[in-house]
Symmetry: D2
Subunit: 126 residues, 4 copies
């Protein structure tokens, strides 16, 4: 999933991965008006999209050939509103279980942590 590959929804959000390694990813979104809610703040779902996609990005390179993963659940907590600049999402795989993986994402806006997320993913062979 290199930067530039068409990704449907992630394109809508404008997410670009600057780094994808086994167990780690780093994505960036440049804030634009399209991503805001009526209160001129970036919609929480944009940050969520960065975390969920970032978790998939960090987990995929760890899978064996033929394996797939699916989000079981994600919880995201918001600390500060985002109004301008870039949002960077760094994700780490913290538990690489046989059937369930656990990842955490931290989102920063111009150096300030604006949200943190944790998610469980099911790993399986279809």
């Amino acid at each position: 999933m290199p930067s530039g590959t068409p990704q449907g929804f992630s394109d809508l959000v404008g997410l670009e991965f600057t780094d994808i390694e086994p167990g780690y990813s780093r994505g960036v979104v440049e804030v634009s008006d399209d991503l805001k809610n009526p209160h001129d703040v970036v919609h929480g779902a944009v940050l969520y999209a960065m975390a969920d996609t970032g978790m998939g990005g960090a987990l995929y390179p760890k899978l064996d050939e033929g394996q797939r993963c699916a989000t079981i659940e994600v919880k995201i907590s918001y600390f500060e509103p985002v109004r301008s600049g870039d949002v960077i999402c760094e994700t780490d795989l913290l538990r690489d279980g046989k059937s369930v993986a656990y990842l955490e994402s931290e989102l920063r806006n111009d150096g300030t942590v604006v949200a943190r997320a944790s998610g469980s993913y099911s790993v399986f062979t279809p």
Copy 2:
């Protein structure tokens, strides 16, 4: 926030509210290719956007004049992939506290429950 009002990000997702009452909302998204991930499945962040926006929609009409709300956290759990048809998100306010509200959303795709979410919102006067 009547259906049709420009909402920035919610417009990107194509979310239309068919019902907003104090403590309840119902939104609909028609599945399109733009909303999918590379595996031809609707991106989890689209369902998340419906839940988070639906929680705001159900909570806003309960606020006093001058009050605002902000998402503290949301957890969303996924049950089934969504590939076509409509997604309906119904949200209920289950706890209407002075400073913290709690809401739950259920998302259905052509009758099947595909995700459930719960969220905490801070209620405050800026």
Copy 3:
């Protein structure tokens, strides 16, 4: 896991199941000083223990012979402090997947909803 069976930690909390069916459980704890924190309020972990144990109780009768389950994650949200009386925890299995189950618990204290929880469980054959 019928009422009265020794359960180690659940005994510490004084949890009694009044109903266990496939996909449903109902447990009761009578509030005592042992279960309180220094502010004279029942410790949140007691309500958590009821939910987590109740989810296991509702899920076990749905498993095939030889299958086991393990908690992936649980989120619990608190609405009201509990000081006296009985706490009742009702749990429903909402998604009975092949490898991941999803359950929700509602906890009431003398008729008032005091907490709600949702959990993901891994189902596997050791």
Copy 4:
């Protein structure tokens, strides 16, 4: 809440704080049969009690005089079963907001991370 102070439920679990500073706490529980479920594994609620109590322990020293805190919600994710030895829970305050605080706990059993938790707390003046 120095080590040794009676704490009701935390005493049931046998939790001892070895360190409490503003924004940080470290607690220990020695595994015993009382804390296990029927499968000879420490009950998830014991780990939860460590996290929830540890979050309160880390947050209290940061409060102003007269302020109180209450758990809004906690999500805990389990990685490995615990059967013997000590469990250590370290908690950090990651967001110290005016009305909502966010904390994370990591639980280790003889060096292995066995669970992680994140929680939101309401901070208020009664």
